[in-house]
Symmetry: D2
Subunit: 310 residues, 4 copies
């Protein structure tokens, strides 16, 4: 079934406009690696794009997939790999193979598991988080890469909790037979974790750096988990469940608080990063008292964080 | 562009197997009606199917859409309509137009708004719930129709709350300077809404009846909202928010409790329905302390509910 | 249940970082309007955000929803409304009510129906497309608003079609008993719509303008439908189906071609827009020969389009 | 943080109704195995349920997750495992650990990769399909398990193709200068793959058996791929792309045809299964000429298939 046909993609297009991103999205690929006795296998979803100059009709779609395949084969034999480096390799390969392109981009979305222990009984659990990696390469050799993750946690609302304090104080004052002083009431309320509405939240943290920097993905997971009212767990014994609920109500947070804490906690662990590192963070709170979500999002450079936190 | 071609769908198939359901899914249609000064407009997603006898190669897909179009046009001129009746009309029309079919089915998914007031300040709010309607028609004139909805609410966990009672009692006993008796402590704890983890839940209630019965959709919304720890609202003033949180913690519920309460609350409002009415209910709880959901689901007839509740 | 509590949101935050976007997402609201005898009702999903200065702990979430409610009530009484103007009203109201904010943003996602006729029999059909509207307002009175839509169509692949020409030519040359000249073969192949793989594509076109410009949403729908191999329809009679398939194969297009055509077709209808108008367009093709999608996306100003197309 | 609290779940419920399914849904777990040098790693999503008798208030949710964890640890050390057997193990363990339950159920959803070669150049590709496994266990030792998959393919429409034949015949008759006989025209049209609309389809095939039967998952993938107009591939060289398009147009199929062919192809490979084996199959076609999908679904036993196919 051999055919000689003209290469339609290389023709001059009728409309000479540059296009930012042309490629394939939603490519699923299994990536297997064994390093230091630890097997890492994931089935990421991959997007890959190049730009298109005004004088070129189309890209060669099958080259996108070939590049991705070959990078994955190469990775499977290497010692260490991170998904952001895989993206960087794909982006560079795309520029090599598509000489009409001046820009290329690769994105990877995957699930990744992290081992942990529950807060009270120390039971081993495994949490599966979402990974987001990306690389953007330019013909002039510049390359920016990103690594990030989305992690679930729990927030208790400070505002409702504050109202519950007020409400509880009044109720204790009205209590028949027990004449409690203001001081007694404060003492009592200081030892009882005060009720609020609480809910699952999803924190997302993405860090964009130059090619020569390196971010540990598990550190980003910790930053998010340390910036919500409490971490949450696939499995909890009763004592653990109690510990999580107490922890959450001792650390009530708005989405705004969590977002700012993410930036602070991230910066404290990553002061050595260059000023041009960009941090993008987001919190979505699946409000238990509303059918809609609370939302906060921001983007800032490490240089700007340095000015704020010193 | 007129063409004379043979009708491929009417040919004898090579493989003579009966098929249960053949048709179109995901048809979006705007349905507009004005009745008693109240405009009802929705853009439901519609599925429509017929069965296929072993000797018929294919259905006529465009007839599905034509039937749906004509029913919707008819409805737009009528006085009253419910989506389950629209499904019934579509299902009957499908049998009329496809003489090779012995069974037909139509399903509708839509958003629908319900007006309400917040619990404390009485502010008007509008909640948008999901509607699920269905009709199954047989050639022998039997027809079963379903109407149901999915509604968000909030559950507080009874188990974590019970542990918090124990924890708070111990903390109060240990309190320096304030020697509280067990009785004092019980009094104190009886007036303070006790903390627990709480979360958004989604309750679903679907009722399948004979064609001559009628269910009020808004009643199903109320049944679900009365069967969770608290209803939730698009808008809440501060006093409302406090009222919702107190209400939820005064009514702690497992998904199992909510599911049983849905059945009980439904039955109390709908005793007059025939024994062959089938009630299917489900609760999904987006656990704030876990990344996975708690889930409960059951199906029962009104006849069975009558035996239980009398 | 009246309570006097301190306003937690107005407190000074522990971490003084500015946040870009804080608010509510996923708010569902029914919007009803009757204008010129035509009823427009939709149930959009709304997001609304303000920024947060370093010295302010939190926003007042309930004010977001109140602003949205009041705008919608106002709109329901007005003569004309577009969703981008509704977004502009919400964004302005958010700045008015949140004096600590220097920026606000409102987004709306909705389904909207468009009436059309099928290409051959002229049957009336209704297509339901997705609408995307947005407004960004700054304290200094600048406001940018966007309106756009996502519309389904169909693309036939030029590359596979070109190969099919080559294949068909060879097959016709080899045909026993019928000695066809090259010229005969070209004549034959010029009247038979040549096979290719074809598939559903989704085109998205979003236009961002200053507040005083106006874009007709239905024009954007037409631009997309005119930029794919063929428009597609909820209902098609046989002659219509034939016409759609012939049309698609007479206009084979890559995603790159469609994207460039969208820009050209848009510009031809909207030359009068200011240079600072920004056009963002995207095509996703659900490839029939691959499990992944083909993708093209670009962003350009009307000023830049003017330089290219004159 | 030790606490002595009553076991709320074991209390008598206020409403004594049996519940069909109570448990956890959406549990993500990494499952790793190395067998015969081949590493299999997946991150399935798992649901697990038990029923609840009228006299029991609630289940012990954490036991669900503990059971799942222990089964997965056990599996990681075993020689052979299939996901339906993992479900069976979980379901049995759930009955063992929850003595109040008379029924249990476990479901697994995962991505799984299959290696293949492209049809013309023989290039190696990897397709990632969706796996669906389930087990239902009863206290009386009965157990039914299911294994199935969803696989993408491509269908070309027989009806539009038939119309294109008619249209092409007329066009060839009208051709100036070339007086082709009916016989000539038939010859010409027999060698040119005739145009139609074609599109991505998703076929799903699930087989429910007794515990002692075994189905090879890869066989189910092949059954689906053999029952559509053509298989589709992550990567295709030009010659492959041509081969796929020709193959699809030489095998035009309605969703009805594909569904019946799945049943036939399945039965031919699995005659030895018991009569009580249940086969459920579905085809969804993402129509290129419509914004909605074509759909066909049916369920039949191997006993019934035996009566039809012998």
């Amino acid at each position: 079934m051999k055919t000689k046909t003209r290469d339609v993609q290389n023709e001059k297009p009728l409309i000479g406009v540059k296009l930012d991103r042309v490629g394939s999205s939603g490519i699923k690929k299994q990536v297997i690696r064994e390093a230091d006795g630890d097997i890492k296998v994931m089935t990421p979803v991959i997007d890959a794009f190049v730009d298109l100059k005004p004088s070129q009709k189309g890209i060669h779609m099958s080259r996108m997939i070939e590049s991705i395949n070959e990078i994955i084969e190469k990775i499977t034999k290497q010692k260490v790999f991170d998904f952001e480096d895989m993206c960087a390799e794909i982006a560079k390969e795309l520029l090599d193979r598509n000489d009409y392109a001046s820009y290329s981009e690769a994105r990877v979305y995957a699930d990744f598991p992290v081992e942990r222990r529950t807060p009270s009984t120390g039971l081993r659990t495994q949490e599966v988080h979402k990974l987001i990696a990306k690389a953007c390469a330019w013909r002039d050799k510049t390359l920016r890469k990103s690594i990030g993750c989305s992690v679930f946690g729990m927030n208790a609302c400070p505002c409702a909790q504050e109202m519950m304090y007020g409400y509880s104080k009044e109720k204790l004052k009205e209590l028949n037979g027990l004449s409690l002083s203001d001081d007694d009431i404060n003492k009592i309320l200081s030892v009882i974790p005060m009720t609020s509405h609480n809910q699952r939240v999803e924190g997302t943290l993405i860090v964009e750096t130059d090619e020569d920097e390196r971010i540990e993905l598990n550190d980003l997971v910790s930053v998010i988990e340390d910036s919500v009212s409490s971490g949450i767990y696939e499995i909890l014994k009763r004592e653990d469940e109690l510990a999580v609920v107490i922890c959450a109500h001792n650390n009530p947070m708005f989405v705004e608080d969590s977002l700012r804490l993410i930036l602070k906690n991230f910066y404290e662990k990553h002061r050595n990063l260059k000023d041009n590192t960009r941090v993008t963070a987001k919190i979505v709170s699946f409000e238990s008292i509303h059918p809609h979500d609370a939302f906060a999002e921001t983007s800032i450079t490490v240089g700007e964080l340095r000015e704020i936190f010193g």
